[in-house]
Symmetry: C2
Subunit: 347 residues, 2 copies
DNA sequence: ACCGATTCTGCAAACGATTGCAGGGTTTCA
DNA sequence: TGAAACCCTGCAATCGTTTGCAGAATCGGT
């Protein structure tokens, strides 16, 4: 039923080799023959069988992507970028969801290995040793996790956090809570790294948690943060921040009048919350595309390919952050010295 | 580098045929040999090359899924079900996103056809003629779109709407706005079908729109609905309903005191909104799983397989719906006659 | 018209698995 | 001990491509 290269060859009156070459290596075949073959192939609706081709070339033309959890909007966003970039490079995409399970993830890479030319791991949940063992099974690119000598795409979360800190400092905040996500996660580490700037800006930070990186986690965290008497709350991600917003509303704490709230990710809902959430936006789609670029490079053996692609984060200022009451009761410039003094504090 | 069946055969001191059979047809080979082969295979870490197998068997062991837009949370939810069910049935999953474009979608099916045993189309955006032409290229299962003689999984959206109508009627609402989504979409049609029950329940419905099925669409629609002096607003989906909620809050219209709001889909945010949104929940994951079941059945040629799998929707009552002011000013039982009269009105 | 140099084209061997068929062993029974 | 019956195992063909190699066709120049 499906039309093979044999069919095209017979129909065109040439050998299969000629058909193969006419389609893949145009300069090796006479122009007239080429045209004839191509025309015949189109007329018959011939599409090469990738499996058969892969058997001999050793390349499958497939990429694999493994994500921890499709119901976390973070990952479909990346996936979308992977998708379109892969299509552009003429690769098909295998998808797998490992349910936040590192062992499962490792198993999936093994299972995929034979069917793909390379795999993209999003926020891998593998333990370092699992990861170490997995590297080498197939070409691998990591997103948001960094391993020595392995190509990675990382989002400059620490940089994003620094923007957030500067923003809060500029508004005059001096006492801020950070609501941690999963303690071991790379993302959480990076956020904390960025937080170190707070000292230099004269901001005292109190770290709470870890909390579940969810709406419910935010509900939970909000009360604890409030008890610390801070003027601003930075949440691990937007989902948590939305939870915080919701809980504060219930307690009649006004945002941003009484306390400022800040999230990470810029998920679609962030802009729709009341008040719209100030947050650190990530370039999900770009990350996906970059990962494909890196992987394709790696596969084609161009060792000259770069190993590390860092994507900027961008603070999106919306209505959930403002000057704290304390700062607003005095002239605005009164807060300036605090910032200028800061270097002295830091050193 | 990768270990082939040849390697296993050599190592185990048997022929490749024996290895193949030891792994695939246990009863055809002596128990002792089988054990030895299996042990060797495991020791060497042998995994059959699916492409090679597919060449001869004609089966690839792969499934394809095409979705209109990964950034719509509706689809990742389905995808998650597809994923896990496919894994259970030992199929790998190809994913493609057609960017809401029917032509692209058709092209993707063609491109996938050779590499998969079947394809699942979620809320296909193809025109009827495109779809007609695509059927037959490969085994096909549709989700949320119904075509004669084609296996489909559909969500009983009309039934869900009827639950919504009954709920509003029971609360005493008599004048309701429905905010339409994309007019041509199957989902919108189904919702309108379910709305027909309103007449029999003594409810007057005014249909507005179409609007974009997004938060912004909801912002837009809210004012129009308010102008119609209704006591309840039913939105095409939750995203729109959230927009409505947001706009009403801005206008100081209290929900549910002044007006009730109701959505569709039960996206994660629905329960986190203020007030939490009453909505019609769909069984996304189940839909994905069911589609895989149908497809696997179809592939294995068991024509006895069912053709149509209908999934119930379930109204989730939260805090965004309540009795209208009009009904609340009189004793609650006063609204009962309206409902009992209803059949007469309907006939 | 012939020769060498160039271009094209076809043959056949891979790639890694599955499977029909036939042959080799072992067992069973006479 | 021999033959029939059975159970295992191996040979070899096959799936649809690509590609090294060799042979055929074309061409230009004399």
């Amino acid at each position: 039923m499906p039309v093979t290269i044999q069919d095209v060859a017979r129909e065109a009156g040439v050998s299969v080799s000629t058909v193969s070459r006419a389609l893949a290596a145009p300069q090796m075949v006479r122009e007239a023959t080429r045209l004839h073959v191509v025309e015949t192939a189109n007329r018959l609706g011939y599409r090469p069988n990738r499996a058969a081709r892969g058997l001999i070339t050793g390349k499958t033309g497939n990429l694999g992507v493994i994500v921890p959890d499709l119901s976390n909007p973070f990952f479909p966003a990346i996936l979308k970028g992977v998708q379109s970039q892969a299509r552009g490079a003429d690769y098909a995409v295998f998808l797998a969801d490992c349910d936040e399970n590192g062992a499962e993830e490792a198993a999936l890479v093994q299972a995929m290995a034979k069917q793909v030319d390379g795999v993209i791991l999003c926020s891998s949940r593998m333990s370092p040793s699992q990861l170490e063992r997995t590297i080498g099974t197939t070409a691998l690119v990591l997103i948001n996790r960094s391993v020595r000598d392995q190509p990675v795409v990382i989002m400059d979360v620490a940089g994003g956090m620094r923007q957030a800190v500067d923003h809060l400092a500029a508004l005059g905040h001096r006492h801020v809570a950070y609501l941690q996500g999963p303690r071991a996660s790379w993302s959480n580490q990076q956020r904390r790294r960025g937080l170190r700037r707070a000292g230099r800006r004269g901001i005292r930070v109190i770290e709470l948690g870890p909390f579940a990186p969810t709406f419910e986690g935010g509900l939970h965290a909000a009360d604890l943060a409030l008890a610390e008497d801070v003027t601003a709350i930075v949440a691990y991600n937007d989902l948590m921040a939305l939870g915080v917003l919701s809980r504060l509303a219930d307690r009649d704490v006004k945002v941003p009048a009484d306390v400022s709230v800040l999230g990470f990710d810029d998920i679609p809902m962030a802009g729709m919350a009341t008040p719209p959430l100030t947050t650190v936006a990530m370039q999900h789609g770009r990350a996906g595309r970059a990962a494909v670029d890196l992987l394709v490079n790696l596969i084609s053996g161009a060792d000259a390919g770069e190993l590390r692609r860092e994507l900027e984060c961008q603070l999106i200022v919306r209505a959930s952050t403002a000057m704290p009451r304390t700062a607003r009761t005095q002239p605005a410039h009164a807060v300036a010295p605090a910032r200028r003094d800061a270097p002295a504090v830091g050193t």
